[in-house]
C-alpha cells in the first residue's frame, strides 16, 4: 500500500504535464474568465427566475452557429450577434404585447432551433462545430476565440460592476427601481442582451445542453450559505472558479469529457452547500 501511493501521485503529476500545452492553458484561462462572468450574472438569473431565458437563448443560438457554418463566418461571432437580437426581440414581445416571458422565450427558442436544424441539414457530412455547440469543447478553444471571450467578458463584467446597484434593484422590483431614478426601459433590455452574450460564450465550454449549469449551480450554492448580498456575489464567483478548475482537473486525471465533469463538480458543490446549511441552520434565523 505504501508503495502504491507514491506511484499514484507520480502518475497524476505526469498527467498534469498536460497543462504545459497551449490548448490546455487556453482552456483554463477561458474557463476562469467565463466562470466569473456566468456566476455574477447567475445572481440576477436566480433573483429574476430567468433560468429558462438562458436555456432558451442557448438553444436559439443554434441558428447563429448554423449561419456561421453555412457562410463560413466565425460561428461564435454570428451566434453572439444573433443572440443579442433575440434578447431584444424577447424584451420587445414582452413589453409590446404584454406576453409572459416564458411564452416569448419559448417562441424564439423553438424558432432559432428550427432555423438552425434546417440550415445544418443543407450541408451534408460531419459537422464538428455542431457537436462542439451541443456538448461544448473547452479544449478546442482557439486563440482568436479566447480573445473574443476575454474582451466581451471584460466588457460585461465592467458594465455589471458599474451598474450593480441599479441592476439589483431592477431585478428586485421594477417600480422601486424606477422610483430610484433607474432607467428601467434601457437597463432591462441591456441586461437581456448581456445575459444572452454571456450564455453564448458559455456554450464554448459547456455546450448548449449544459451551459445553464454554470449560471445556476454556483449562484444556487452561494445563495444557500450566504447571509448577505455581498457574500452571495463573492461566494458565487469563488464557487464557479472552483467548479471549473475542479472539472478541468478531474477530466484530465480520469480522462473523461470536460463539460460533464464541470457540471458534476457544480453538483458536488451544491450538495456540500446544502450540508453546510443544514449544520449551520441556527445562523439563518433572526
Amino acid at each position: 500500500m505504501a508503495e502504491i501511493r507514491p506511484f499514484a501521485i507520480m502518475n497524476i503529476m505526469h498527467m498534469l504535464d498536460i497543462f504545459a500545452y497551449p490548448f490546455m492553458q487556453r482552456a483554463v484561462i477561458a474557463g476562469v474568465i467565463l466562470a466569473a462572468l456566468l456566476s455574477v450574472l447567475g445572481v440576477y438569473v436566480l433573483l429574476k427566475r430567468m433560468s429558462f431565458f438562458s436555456d432558451g437563448i442557448a438553444h436559439a443560438s443554434l441558428a447563429g452557429i448554423a449561419i456561421g457554418i453555412i457562410f463560413s463566418w466565425p460561428p461564435l461571432i454570428v451566434a453572439l450577434c444573433l443572440s443579442a437580437v433575440f434578447a431584444w426581440v424577447i424584451y420587445w414581445i414582452e413589453r409590446k404585447f404584454e406576453l409572459a416571458s416564458d411564452t416569448a422565450i419559448g417562441i424564439l427558442f423553438t424558432t432559432g432551433m428550427a432555423v438552425g436544424v434546417l440550415l445544418i441539414s443543407m450541408r451534408p457530412g460531419y459537422q464538428p462545430e455542431l457537436i462542439s455547440f451541443l456538448f461544448g469543447n473547452i479544449l478546442a478553444i482557439q486563440k482568436d476565440e479566447l480573445w473574443v471571450i476575454a474582451l466581451v467578458s471584460m466588457g460585461i463584467i465592467s458594465f455589471v460592476a458599474l451598474q450593480f446597484r441599479p441592476l439589483t434593484l431592477l431585478a428586485l422590483d421594477e417600480e422601486l427601481a424606477h422610483a430610484a431614478h433607474v432607467k428601467t426601459t434601457l437597463l432591462q433590455p441591456l441586461f437581456y442582451m448581456i445575459l444572452s452574450l454571456a450564455v453564448v460564450l458559455g456554450i464554448k465550454i459547456l455546450g448548449v445542453i449544459l451551459v445553464s449549469a454554470l449560471l445556476i449551480l454556483p449562484s444556487a450554492s452561494a445563495r444557500i450559505v450566504a447571509l448577505s448580498l455581498k457574500r452571495f456575489v463573492w461566494l458565487s464567483v469563488c464557487f464557479a472558479e472552483g467548479i471549473v478548475l475542479a472539472g478541468i482537473l478531474s477530466s484530465v486525471v480520469f480522462n473523461l469529457p470536460t463539460g460533464p465533469m464541470i457540471v458534476l463538480s457544480g453538483t458536488c458543490c451544491f450538495v456540500i452547500a446544502l450540508v453546510l446549511r443544514t449544520f449551520r441552520s441556527s445562523d439563518y434565523s433572526l
Partner: protein
Amino acid sequence: MDIMISIRNLSVIRDGLEVLQNIHADIRAGEIVAVIGPNGAGKSTLLKCLLGFLIYTGTITIFGKRPTHALDQIGYVPQRFTFDKNFPLTVAEFLRLSCDSQPAIKHALKEVEMDAYHDALLGRLSGGQLQRVLIARAIANSPKLLLLDEPTTGIDLGGEKDFYEIIAHQNQQHDVTIVMVSHEVNMVYTHATHVLCLNKSVCGMGRPNETLTRDVLELLYGRDTAIRDHEHHAHA
C-alpha cells in the same frame, strides 16, 4: 400653501379601456392626502402616473417639473413588494441600493424604529417590519413628497397604528407631503388632512368632513355602502 402637485386633464387608457378620465387636482405642500375609491377606480394608476411610470395624456407637474424629473424629491412605497424570501439581502444592503449615504440609512432606520435590524435578512422580516423598511427606504433620501400605495395592506392592527404614527411624524417634523392610496374610508377622518375621491374621475376633493358626503360616497361605492358608511361615521 404652495401647490406641490398639479394635475390637469389627466387620462390613462390601458388595453383600450379608460382607467382615468380627465383628472384635475391640486395637492399643496404639507397635506396628507388619502386617495380613496372602489377597486378598479384607478387609485394605483394615479400614483404610478405621479411617478412617471405610466404613459398618460394631460399634464402633471410636481415642484413645477415633470414627474420623472422630480423623482429625486419623491419617496415611494409600493402596494406589493414580492421578492424571493430566500434571497440573501440584508436590510442595510437593500437601503444602500437606492441611497449612497450610510448615516442617512441609519437615520432612516431609526426613524421607523428598525435600527436593530440593520444586518437582518430582508426575507426574514414580518409584514409590518418589511413595511417599515420600505418606508425607511422611501425617506432615506429626505424626500419632500411620499407616495404610498395601500401601505397598510397585510399589516395587523398594531402595525397599522405604528405606521400612521410614522407617517404623521414625517409630515409634522420633516414637512413631508403625503399622498396615500387607501381602500379604508374610516382612516381618512383620523389620519388624512385631505381626501381625493376617485372612481375613474374625481368625485370629490377637500377636507374629509366636507368632502365625504352621502352623494360622494354613493358615487364611489354604490347606494347601500354609502348610507352604511355615512351613518357609521355619524354615530362615531
